[in-house]
Symmetry: C2
Subunit: 107 residues, 2 copies
DNA sequence: TGATTTGTTAAGCATTTGCTTGAGTATAAC
DNA sequence: GTTATACTCAAGCAAATGCTTAACAAATCA
């Protein structure tokens, strides 16, 4: 998912979709590239699980998968929490050392 | 930042750093690649603003930049909020249409 | 029916990415 | 002072990425 969101075009597509469902052409309209390229980006987004789409007639309607966004959000939140937890207990890592060396409790 | 987090190795580095500061060799230890490669990943992370590092003596100490993580988090939260806001007011987009066509209020 | 709209698929191509190796430099340890 | 440590920097290279064009298929429209 992070990799999918790593591309600015795909982020623009997700932004558009966060405001509501859209067809492939809708997604392509503001983008300065071929429809084909947009379809390829869409495939990446779908493969990542961030976007889902279904086709009725000749138009494919795409929409965001909020649960997937939540997963990404969760990853970030956890890393940040892990870091902040550290700062809240100034014990232990006062020496702020590396790791491997000094595993023994003496010295 | 999304692009930086798009690589699994770099995500592992961020995970490690979320548990506390580490030297370049610390970061490299669990990774199956050359130190040089790790340094290159580190450069990407620093360029993105997600990680900061400073060198004292011959060891470079790296740490996470929580504000940057917060920025990423914010982006996700906003997209998700934008989507959920939509669902809360079932007005308007009942037809769930595309966009450009039918701008006129008749029909 | 024939033309148009909407999308799909494949091939090809330039650029970017994620490494490696090898040859340094500066600090710290012995 | 020699040796090990902890990086640093520059090539070089294979694979992945982000496009393009072109040919095609299926709905829908006139």
């Amino acid at each position: 998912m992070f990799q999918a969101l790593g591309d600015p075009t795909r982020r623009a597509m997700v932004e558009r979709l966060s405001r509501g469902p859209a067809s492939v052409s809708d997604l392509a309209r503001p983008l300065a590239m071929s429809l084909s390229a947009v379809v390829q980006h869409l495939q990446v987004l779908e493969a990542s699980g961030l976007v889902r789409s279904e086709k009725q007639g000749r138009v494919r309607t795409c929409r965001i998968e909020p649960a997937a966004l939540k997963t990404v959000e969760q990853w970030i939140v956890e890393r940040r929490a892990s870091w902040e937890r550290r700062l809240d207990r100034p014990a232990d890592h006062l020496a702020e050392e590396s790791e491997a060396p000094d595993k023994r409790r003496k010295r």
